[in-house]
């Protein structure tokens, strides 16, 4: 039978050699010597200690890390409110796509409202939410859109119920700000 390969010698050193090869190892002096060499050099490396810093060092270290992070540019921080994570945006994106599809399927009844009416409509929370959903479609990134393809039925409705009307209005405000920032 052939001698152990390098991978099998490593398996043997870790105690993971398959029984058939272990039988060869037991009967082969050359393989046992190679295994002993590997094991002894690993054991010698293990003897080299790493000094343990004083307990005070760890507190100092944490302060250092915090200070270093605090000097990082602000754009790496999260500027969006806590409830507006992608876990929330994801179902809303899906819902927006569904609504957009419905809007395209149903003929528009009023297409010639005055500009004053537009402003008035935009001020109502319900219109704000619908507007926010429409904007979401343009805002969601590709990764989120990809994930949306595997979203479970019912998740959209559930996520919608998670937001208060104030949060829906805030969502609309943020999206408008985001879109105007992208345009500028």
């Amino acid at each position: 039978m052939t001698h152990l390969t390098s991978a099998e010698l490593i398996d043997a050193m870790e105690g993971m050699l398959i029984p058939e090869r272990a039988a060869h190892l037991a009967a082969c002096g050359a393989c046992r010597r190679r295994l002993d060499d590997l094991s002894s050099v690993l054991n010698e490396a293990k003897q080299v200690s790493c000094p343990e810093p004083s307990p005070l060092f760890w507190t100092h270290f944490s302060h250092r890390v915090r200070a270093a992070i605090d000097t990082e540019p602000a754009e790496s921080r999260n500027a969006w409110p806590s409830w507006l994570r992608w876990q929330v945006l994801l179902p809303f994106g899906t819902m927006a796509m569904i609504l957009m599809a419905l809007m395209l399927a149903v003929p528009r009844q009023v297409a010639t409202d005055s500009s004053e009416n537009d402003v008035a409509v935009m001020d109502t929370p319900a219109a704000d939410s619908a507007d926010a959903l429409e904007m979401l479609v343009g805002w969601l990134d590709l990764e989120t859109a990809g994930a949306a393809a595997v979203i479970e039925p019912g998740f959209v409705e559930q996520a919608f119920l998670e937001l208060t009307s104030e949060e829906q209005q805030e969502l609309a405000r943020l999206l408008r700000a985001e879109l105007s920032r992208e345009k500028s």
Binding site: A45, K46, S49, P53, R64, Q87
Partner: protein, 202 residues
């Protein structure tokens, strides 16, 4: 390694996260909380992993000053890249990967000849053995450190993670972004080279 992460959490989970004391959260929940704007959540992550991150850095540079700088750098990079942590592996695996990368960048820029190897045994009590044995032991440890420092990067990283962090081949493969087969090959070559180098030491 503890705390397998799953970042694909539902919105209502965030409510639970914001109400639970941070120290009681697992790593994936801490990451979610940190991304959610709770800066203190990242402090807990640092507290939990600082020792292992420092130790892996130390094994590459063999001195406290550089190891603490590298460990700090690793955590700053982790903070900046936290959004890219997808939770497919444990947070500890991801942090090890960053620590190995910053360490390899450092030692590649400043290769073995100029590397100052700290005499780490300075804190050890030599009274328990005779002075000659203690000196021999220190010299041998320094020789092993030099030998490890002279290994090619992948072999060195594999040996460090296996020997000093007791990682499985699968975990090492995840940290180094390689296959289990490559880990076994690198470990075999690392040990073979180490034996050759130490065998030629006076």
């Amino acid at each position: 390694m503890p705390h397998e992460s799953a970042l694909a959490i539902a919105p209502w989970t965030l409510c639970v996260v914001t109400q639970t004391p941070l120290a009681e959260l697992d790593d994936s929940a801490l990451v979610a909380a940190a991304l959610d704007g709770r800066r203190e959540a990242f402090d807990i992550i640092v507290e939990r992993h600082r020792r292992s991150v420092y130790q892996v850095c130390y094994r590459f540079v063999n001195n406290h000053e550089d190891a603490s700088d590298l460990a700090q750098d690793a955590f700053v990079r982790a903070w900046k890249g936290l959004r890219s942590f997808k939770g497919q592996s444990a947070l500890s695996t991801w942090l090890y990967r960053i620590a190995v990368n910053v360490s390899l960048n450092k030692v590649s820029a400043k290769r073995a000849p100029t590397e100052s190897i700290e005499t780490t045994d300075q804190f050890e009590d030599v009274r328990i053995e005779g002075a000659p044995q203690a000196i021999l032991r220190k010299e041998r440890a320094a020789a092993v450190r030099r030998a490890i420092a002279s290994l090619p990067d992948k072999q060195r990283a594999t040996l460090i993670l296996r020997t000093y962090h007791d990682m499985s081949h699968q975990q090492i493969a995840e940290v180094l972004g390689s296959s289990v087969g490559a880990v076994k090959a690198n470990l075999f070559h690392a040990l073979t080279n180490l034996k050759k180098i130490l065998g030629s030491e006076p």
